[in-house]
């Protein structure tokens, strides 16, 4: 980064042109496995937006105020994954106590999220790109929303496709990857707006 990018640019870049899923390929596993129905995709998507924003903020603090002063930067991956796992566990406990409806909507997706590479990826990208705190939060939020947009679009397309005839070998993962490719092409079209 030569000059500090404005917050809105970071947000829009994370959602559209630099979509965490379609441009950086992160979070593919849960994307392929869960994107069969719009409802479940929405649940997982909102959980990702929430956890991603919060853990990015937390990890920024941990990195700049704990790891850097202690000269333990090389441990960053292990610390980030612990922060993410601990945070997810905590949120699960709180949601379980506070609201049952929210728990049934989001709770089941939370354990899945700990191992979602997009969450850890965002924290690592934030360090590599040297974002400030507000920039990091914006980036986390944007990436979460971008991931959700992508999985919702994919779920919509897959629901429509249920009765289409697909070559045998392409069924399941193959056709989903091709759709993701076409979506990535479409999202590249957003390059012009920034």
């Amino acid at each position: 980064m030569n000059e500090p990018a404005s917050l809105w640019t970071i947000l829009f870049a994370a959602i559209f042109t630099n979509n965490i899923l379609l441009a950086n390929y992160l979070g593919m596993c849960s994307f392929l496995a869960v994107s069969k129905e719009i409802k479940t995709s929405f649940g997982l998507g909102s959980a990702v937006v929430f956890v991603m924003t919060a853990t990015t903020a937390l990890n920024w603090f941990v990195y700049h105020h704990v790891l850097v002063p202690l000269n333990l930067v090389y441990l960053n991956v292990i610390v980030f994954i612990i922060v993410i796992a601990a945070f997810v566990q905590l949120v699960e406990l709180i949601i379980d106590r506070v609201s049952e409806t929210l728990y049934t909507a989001l709770g089941i997706f939370l354990p899945l999220i700990t191992v979602n590479c997009a969450i850890l990826g965002v924290s690592l990208f934030m360090i590599i790109r040297d974002y400030s705190f507000t920039q990091s939060v914006m980036y986390g939020l944007g990436s979460g929303i971008g991931w959700m947009v992508a999985i919702l679009a994919m779920a919509g397309i897959r629901q429509k496709m249920k009765r289409s005839r697909i070559p045998r070998g392409l069924e399941g993962a193959g056709i989903t990857l091709i759709i993701a490719g076409v979506m990535a092409l479409a999202f590249m079209g957003f390059n012009g707006i920034l």
Binding site: L22, C117, R168, L170, L177, I178
Partner: protein, 211 residues
């Protein structure tokens, strides 16, 4: 090698291949395959982590409490990933920079976690070693094939050396994000159509996370 070990080894490379049968570890499959050199480094890193974490989890399997086993597995995996990361930074700084976060992301690579959870926890270290190595090699050769295709057709080079000559027009799209999806999809298609019998094929789309 006993017959059981041989069977486990062949399964990891063919019928139970982590990439094109179980559709695991796709993130890095797509991300690093635009340049062959990075792919080779990534594959070595993954094989190293996968084999050693499998052996370690297996050796400790009697002492790992069931309730926190995921956390213990993650910590074991993360330790090896950090070793790989530091080695790369020290000896191959350029490649380390190009791979960016993807080395660290080996931690969340579902293949590593999946093998630890599904195999190493219930099997002795020797078998776990074979299993880890097989899954790693199964992952590696798929990545190498895709990387060769993408670099050759996308940039007209192999290992950074131009080989296609001036008559070749680069398919730039293959070196970019959408090309990765298309390349993997076509690969899965070919393998499924030619080599896998319908009875072997798992239910599509169930290759999720071990959670």
């Amino acid at each position: 090698m006993s017959s059981r070990e041989r069977k486990q080894f062949l399964a990891g490379i063919g019928r139970d291949n982590p990439v094109f049968v179980q559709i695991l570890g796709i993130c890095s499959t797509l991300a690093v395959t635009n340049v062959l050199r990075n792919t080779v480094v990534m594959c070595i890193g993954l094989c190293f982590t996968l084999t050693l974490s499998n052996v370690t989890v297996s050796a400790l399997r009697r002492w790992i409490p069931g309730r926190v086993r995921m956390m213990v597995e993650v910590l074991i995996i993360a330790t090896y990933v950090i070793v790989v990361d530091i080695l790369l930074k020290a000896y191959l700084p350029d490649i380390s920079r190009e791979l960016g976060p993807y080395v660290g992301l080996i931690i969340t690579n579902c293949i590593v976690m999946g093998r630890a959870e599904a195999f190493a926890l219930t099997n002795p270290p020797r078998l776990a070693l074979v299993d880890g190595l097989a899954a790693g090699l199964g992952y590696s050769y798929v990545l190498l094939i895709i990387a060769v295709v993408r670099e050759l057709m996308g940039s007209g080079t192999l290992w950074g050396i131009p080989v296609m000559g001036s008559w070749w027009t680069n398919w730039t799209i293959l070196a970019m994000a959408p090309g990765a999806f298309f390349a993997l999809a076509v690969f899965v298609w070919i393998v499924k159509a030619c080599f896998l019998k319908p009875a072997d094929a798992p239910v599509p789309g169930t290759g999720g996370k071990p959670s």
